[in-house]
Symmetry: C2
Subunit: 332 residues, 2 copies
Amino acid sequence: MVTLRAVAQASGVSVATASRALNGLSNVDPAKAQMIRDTAASMGYVPNAAALSLRRARSGNIGILYDDEIFHDYYALLLNELRVETEKAGYDMSIVSRIMEEGGSFYSHALSRNLDGVVIMQADFRSAEIVRLANSEVPAVIVDCDFKDCNVVLNANTESMEELVDRAYRLGHRRLAFIHGQHGNATDTRLSGFYKGCAEHGLTVGRDYVIQGVFHDKESATEATGRLLDLPEPPTCIFYPDDTCAIWGMKAMKARGLKIGRDISAVGYDGIRMAEMVEPTLATWKQDYRAIARRTVEILCYNIENPGTKTAYQVCIRGCFQPGESLGPVSP
Amino acid sequence: MVTLRAVAQASGVSVATASRALNGLSNVDPAKAQMIRDTAASMGYVPNAAALSLRRARSGNIGILYDDEIFHDYYALLLNELRVETEKAGYDMSIVSRIMEEGGSFYSHALSRNLDGVVIMQADFRSAEIVRLANSEVPAVIVDCDFKDCNVVLNANTESMEELVDRAYRLGHRRLAFIHGQHGNATDTRLSGFYKGCAEHGLTVGRDYVIQGVFHDKESATEATGRLLDLPEPPTCIFYPDDTCAIWGMKAMKARGLKIGRDISAVGYDGIRMAEMVEPTLATWKQDYRAIARRTVEILCYNIENPGTKTAYQVCIRGCFQPGESLGPVSP
DNA sequence: GATACTGATGAAAACGATTACATGGGTTAC
DNA sequence: GTAACCCATGTAATCGTTTTCATCAGTATC
């Protein structure tokens, strides 16, 4: 590790001058500055991040927090965009999960690591720990969970569900079912959009038509789909908590010999890549991953660069309907 | 940020004693030590990682390096397991991609960030930069590329392709085609396994039956599949560079009215989750993501904890065949 | 009772950078 | 010719830890 001191010695100047030259400060003789920069480059000098971080209480690191299961497509896609944006903004991205907790906490971890800011991407939003972190002095942005007095970037769950219902309605569907995920912000807002959309068209939603499932889960999707299809008056269109569930659901439909898009329709959520790969292609709601990441990092950076001014942005990213063969006109 | 000095003052001892107490060193009065620990806890003291890192030239950070496209399932799954393992080993995981490069390099980035070690997960392995990093004093493990004198964790590409060919052969397939990815370690070793497997069974492989495609790419998979099916004597079984390509290929087959698993067989690679979700399910080679990650981190940690002893482990992770409906007996 | 030893504690250096302040030579102004 | 000023440069403090070394009281040994 070649230090600034070494560069200074090699250049025959003090560390102060070397530092100034390398940082391009004005008050140093241009010729000498160039010489210093050259020697630094030739020696392969790179500033020590730890020293910098110590000196200016800034680490240049942004932490991405989540519980687990990063590999689901939604998270993978989002994470990828977050990485692009954080790097664009000049930060490194550390992903921190829960496993390391042996008495440690997200909050103290953030503090100890000097994380300049954190993105809470997926977590048990009801845990005291998350609440503490979100309301602490550490700049934070929460994705897809509506926290009071915090920066949140939300998906327009209610509006999107409404639009999906509307699209189904306009294709003639009148008996709509919704298999939703575990309760929480995302599910609750989606449910609300679902009911709202139905109400707007004067559709009654039977109690049996709304089933709680499990996000990304094969068994639950298969079972719930079966239960709906067994109803005396089965739905003509089923909404799923996410694309993965929808695809498993479609498998269950096919297994019963139903022709998807004609006998029955299926609608996913998230717009993962698989949606266009399955057959039939899955109609779904495509999240705008790039926009989510961009706004998240934007807000986070603003909070980092303006310490003291705690903001509470509430941004909503809409996304858009992604057509697919799985949603067809209701058969007469 | 509550510092050690503050804790020491509050406890009425020197920072040295406070440090010793918190680190559980023996030479401090037990009662006093407990008192110090209590005050530290009550004040919410957390050690400053930057200071630690500066003091002990260790950051507790492991860097995961790759070019881009982290969101493909293979990388997402691997990344997830890597995270689990690094956290188990007590490290944080930073993902570093290429975008930040504005004259900066992976190598100097690793140096400046005090990264204790790096995993080179995906990159242009021919670039001078990667070669320099891999051969530098920074502990490094390379995944799925065979570097001389470096720690590498490889997939048993040759053996797995051989086994896949053998399985197809035993199902009666005699005309095997291989759409492979861009050249590089993975592709070359797979090709070698493919030819070896064919040779063992005395199969001749026509020049037209081996096509260079593009990893994870829809267009290339579709086009190459079409080209193979248009041959006067089309293959009875097509191997693909990865599952994504195989799935697109299957779509092309279906589009021609072929019944997959009977008229034609398709075999993927990687064993991503989508493989069991498509219809027909995709026969593929399932990577042992957990084992890859475990060994990678294990070797990396060994190198970190034994500085100076540069190892050059060559570990091979086998994975296993994952059956699927897409590979069936050849029709008579 | 003097000497050596032990064990707890504190003072201070060190890690590698930035930066406030001091210094000193050269220029300008009267 | 002297005062005032400017600009380049160096000295040293600082960030929060760990750790070496010194100190000092108490105890054991002869």
